[in-house]
Amino acid sequence: MIEELHTDNVAMAVLRIHHHDVDGAPVAGLEWQGDRVTVPFRPALDRIDLEELRWYHENYRERWDAASPDQITRIRDAQRKIGEALHAALFAGDAAALAAEVRAAGRQSSPRRTERDAGLHVQIRDDLYDAAIPWELLADPEVEEPLVVRAASFVRAIGEVAPAPADRVMRRVLLLISRPGGVYDIGYWTVAYELWRTLSTMPRVKVDVLRPPTFDALGDRLRAAVAEGVPYTAVHFDGHGVILNPFGAVRDTGYLVFETPNRDGPDFVDGATLGHVLAANDVLLLSMNACRSADSAGGDRHLRAEPAETTGQPSVVDDVLTAGVPACAGMGREVYPGTPSRFFPAFYEAFLNGDSPGEAARVARRRLRADPLTAGIYREDSAPIDDWCVPVVAEGAAVRLAPPSPGEPAVPVDPLAGVFPEELLAPPVVGFDRAILTLEAGFADAPVVLVHGGLLAGKSRLAAEYARWLSSTSPEPRPVTYLRLDDSGDLRELAERIPDDLGGGLLILDQADHAGRAAEELVTRVAGTGRVIVTARTPHLPWLPAHQRIVPDNLPMARRAALGKVWAQDAGLEFDVRRFQPLVHFCGGHPGVLLILLEAAYDQVSRAETNANQVSQWLNDAQWDHIADLKAAPIERVIDDVAADVSDRLDAGGLAVISYVARFNGFCDTAAAARLMAAITGVEVSTGAADEVMRKLVAAGLVEESGTRRPGWWLHPLLKLVASRLPHDHDADLDGALIDTVAEVCAGLVTEFRAAPLEVSELLLAHKQNLSDALWIAMERRLIEPIAKLTEALCLSCRYEGDVDLASRVLDSALLHFLERDTFAPQLKPGELPARIWYQAIWVSAYWPRNLRMLQQRSALMPPEDDQFADGLYLRATGDFETAVRAFLAELNEPGSAPRYYPGDVEWHLADSILTGASDLSYPTALAYARASHTARLSNDVVGRASSRILEARIRLAMLGPADPFEQEPSPPDDPVVLREIGDLLSEAMAEGGGGSAENRAHWLMVQASLSVAHGDLTAAVAAFEGGVSLLARLQGTDQWRYYLRFAHHLIDHGWIARGFEFAFAAFHAAMESGNMMLSTRIREFCEHLEATYPELTK
């Protein structure tokens, strides 16, 4: 029988669980239908399962490639297993009989029910904070759905939860968006935008944004609302949360991180302090997407050999409730924006329509469960994240707002209806987080902001959407005026209708590139009475009074895909991002370009009449005859407008320059532009003159300053189309000029790499498309010297980034130009350039060439006989470490003439070869060479110095363990002094700034992983190992068994038997993948030995 609290045809049943201790023993008190049962509560939860589940919720999304689908399946199973273990422990002994009754009540919590309150309501009071029981996972083994989504309401509580009907005529929601990290923080709109868009369509709901998001401003705003007679119904904190104990207080504390004025550092506010302010001002609900705001676990997030002696603490949610706020929602984990941005719109929609917070949470959780968080928009095949258990909702009282009356309008009146042209209102914008944040901050400093940027960068959309956001989310009225200037910039007639006082509102002057005196007079006249946004392509409007400048965000790939989806949704269409990927890439992150391309090409691409790759090729080559087959009118109109604009700005010489610059792909720097012009015209062009032309192109919206450490320019994706509409020299050899220019510029960069790795790698990366393009043409033309230079530069860039796969493909293609295709005999006499390519190949990837026949032929790939250094590299690449060591020693004793390597390189390779391939007797020798390599380095060789230090750390670490990875005896205990010295070596390597290359980072991470094991921090160790091994896999191929096996040894030596076994098993997999069956067998035997030694592994 079920306790009936209502007379509805479906009754309300309440299950109350109280987790506390009796005489030091944990118990669970269950209250059901007036009966009370207390049972010992010791659920069998596995520490490793819990840690893996935490990793899955918190880290998987950023390291999705570190886990196999099987592992994720196992973790998801563990999630269920934990829930069932909780259920078993709860409904045990005297409480066993209750399980069936609760199950029956849960059936009546059907989502189709219409009566509020009906069905099963679960209230959990947990006084044992350090246990941090994940109650939201609670699952009845006989029911598929976990209880948290099955029950009508599932809440945490701190005492009795009484019904609390509330009648708020106007439901005010205060959004507090705290980003103490400014533009480097999480996107400003990632959660708030979706929430605002949902709530702004609801009747009797008003969303305000707290400006500035400081704790003092919060108190002021809440008190003002009470004084106005319309207190806030809910406050949503969109920002960071943390649990810490910085000074050694009695226990940890959960904090929310507020901003301070001018973002002058963070302001940590605890739940009690916040709760008192909210309760004193009649706030009914606080919701937070702050990390761990509902977590009561003490200490950090790391699984440690010796668990920290922290006692746990009330979560922020608990403290807020204790302070008197009726309801509170927070996050039990560290969360990505994807979870709260899906949860809270559904939650608030239900809550503001009359559901209690617990019931609203059920609606939102069902949404999360039905549409789980994907690991990434392009990773649709990867396993999703079950995040329905992450939000935690607590009730001190079951607040239930009176639902809207039947006669109320379904949608509130839009105060900005008719203000903006239709094309600026749909679809909803995507991205712009940094720009909106900067606009919010910018208006605090200056009343005028110039939004500038390239063609179709979304300037007008940004201005319009910000206006709607500002107007809608300000407590006080913010009237908005929108003026779009025509091509002549004429404004006089319109301006005269604008009053002198904006009344605190916002004026937008759109497309003000050609604005003149009238605009200046208008802005000057109204400045100080409100806010003014001016949009223009140019960043320089001399007539504009003191102002801030903002560029709309270039959308990253995921955001572009999201925009495509939003566009399609708005048009009622389907959108498969993979099908349109070439266009998503082509748009260069300019939202307007993507939208115009989708509109032009959607029909043909979706009907498979053509493909997006083809379309992007037409656009890239300005093949207007093909483009005309699309819905090309909008594209043509834009291109012709811009072509006319630049024709007005530039003389014939300047227009010719556009056609030259347009030959670059995506990026050029001023030196490259000047060199290209000179190569074509035969006339020396100064960098100043090139710079002047580029600045005019900036004003036309066709290029943007790159912001790279050395100045450069991003080229607009439509530049080639514009150039095709301008007069140009059809006979100019632009391709030839591109090859010469890029080869020379990049060859210069290569020589600077070791001293300035960050600057050079940044520029090489920016030039990557130019490099690739120039190399392709050079190969077609069989220009050996440029091929060599371009290959070396491209490979260096790839190696720094860790993209060895691309480097290998480039080398495969390039080498064919030095060898006979069939016999692999050298096509050219051995000389510097072929050798250079060869050295580079070995240097970049030990597993190149992939075609074994090339290796077997040997002659073409063998280094010249008198080059011992190259010989050493070659031998090491083939796995002959001992002979490689001899070659490096020979080079060291008698250096070749005009060596290509840097001082210290030979010693480094010598030490590395000994470490990788020799016995433990040689470790001291390897260490001596590693130290010698550091001593020999040039003072400006920051990459080399870092490499030497990391190598020294690797050798010292290796000396602590067995040389034989199959050694079955435990290693001797670690020497803490040695560990500290190894840590110091790593710190020194990173402090010098040269540790950023993929190879240095990979080895650094691997050593760090072992140090973390030694320090008892399994979480940090596994994270570092996964990062390191994944980089090494990219750099060296798939033969990673050695790393896995050594890491397994470390883990087992330090008592992490089960995890060690898993990594040993991963070593077995790696050996299988490499095709080495003998090795696989040895590792399998090693695993069997582990199972025999540790019987618990087979339980």
Partner: protein, 294 residues
């Protein structure tokens, strides 16, 4: 009240480079660091900054005779003692902990104390200097060290300022030995009537502190103003007999600081956490009690 030390930056306001230049020795202190990385709503407080870099102070109050857990309350929670309105007060230094000052080893700390004293003819500003030696990480051997005796608060309350300078300049150290003479160890006794000699003496103390604070190798570390009244807004501080503890701490945690996490052990004169560990921050304790001197 004018600010005699205005324009002299505290150590916390200087960069490591500026401080290295000032102290004549390399300083690598680091700054308070936070991390919002990883694309999550987590936040890491990485610390990294030594106690002398902190820019805020939190002030607690220990009622007369209180000890143990709960003995320290926030100064705003102290009950004002109206009987002190007409009393003459004795102000003592009851504790000084140097968890970390710039440099290392034994620190010579110059204290400049300021108080406003009511006389028959008005209010006079009084300054007094004292110097203490403390080894880094320890507390100075000071308890009930007299600073002012016979201070008459104004009708609205008592204004106190404490300004500390880390003295490393050898010449100044010799000079400061003077301050350790027995005569000056008795503190400054104030009387009800105006004392003509007090003005010049007070000016001398300020001038000396200012000169030392600006000399090479010396650097000011703490500057605490306390306005204690007999009642007012909750954000204020009350005047009562007892001890006032000023802890130098990061501004980020000022709102989150809980004095209830700390206890005062009267037997050792130390402030500790539940595990008996000393507070890892710089602090000093000022005692206020009715004075028998007239």
């Amino acid at each position: 009240m004018s600010d005699p030390f205005g324009g002299i930056p505290l150590a916390a306001a200087l960069t490591d480079e500026q401080l290295s230049e000032r102290l004549g020795e390399p300083v690598r202190s680091g700054r308070e660091r936070v991390s919002t990385g990883g694309g999550r709503f987590g936040f890491a407080w990485l610390g990294g900054s030594p106690p002398w870099r902190h820019t805020s102070h939190s002030v607690g109050f220990i009622p007369m005779g209180a000890s143990g857990a709960g003995a320290i309350r926030h100064v705003g929670e102290a009950e004002p003692d109206p009987s002190l309105k007409d009393a003459r007060l004795r102000i003592t230094l009851d504790g000084l902990r140097v968890a970390d000052y710039p440099g290392g080893g034994i620190h010579r700390v110059l204290f400049n104390f300021f108080v406003q004293n009511r006389t028959g003819t008005g209010v006079e500003d009084v300054n007094f200097n004292a110097t203490y030696r403390v080894r880094e990480g320890e507390s100075a051997a000071v308890l009930n060290f007299p600073i002012f005796t016979g201070v008459a608060p104004r009708e609205t309350g008592l204004v106190i300022r404490c300004y500390t300078v880390n003295v490393k300049n050898d010449n100044d150290e010799l000079f400061l030995d003077l301050l350790e003479s027995d005569a000056l160890r008795q503190g400054l006794t104030l009387v009800a009537t105006a004392q003509p000699a007090l003005g010049p003496l007070s000016s001398l103390a300020v001038g000396m502190a200012k000169a030392i604070a600006t000399r090479r190798r010396n650097v000011p570390v703490q500057d605490v103003h306390l306005g204690l009244d007999f009642g007012g807004p909750a954000t204020g501080a009350r005047l009562a007999a007892g001890s006032y503890v000023a802890v130098q701490m990061p501004a980020a945690f000022q709102r989150a600081w809980r004095w209830t996490d700390w206890s005062y052990d009267a037997s050792s004169g130390q402030i500790c956490n539940a595990a008996g560990e000393l507070i890892p921050l710089n602090y000093f304790i000022l005692g206020v009690s009715p004075s028998t001197a007239t």
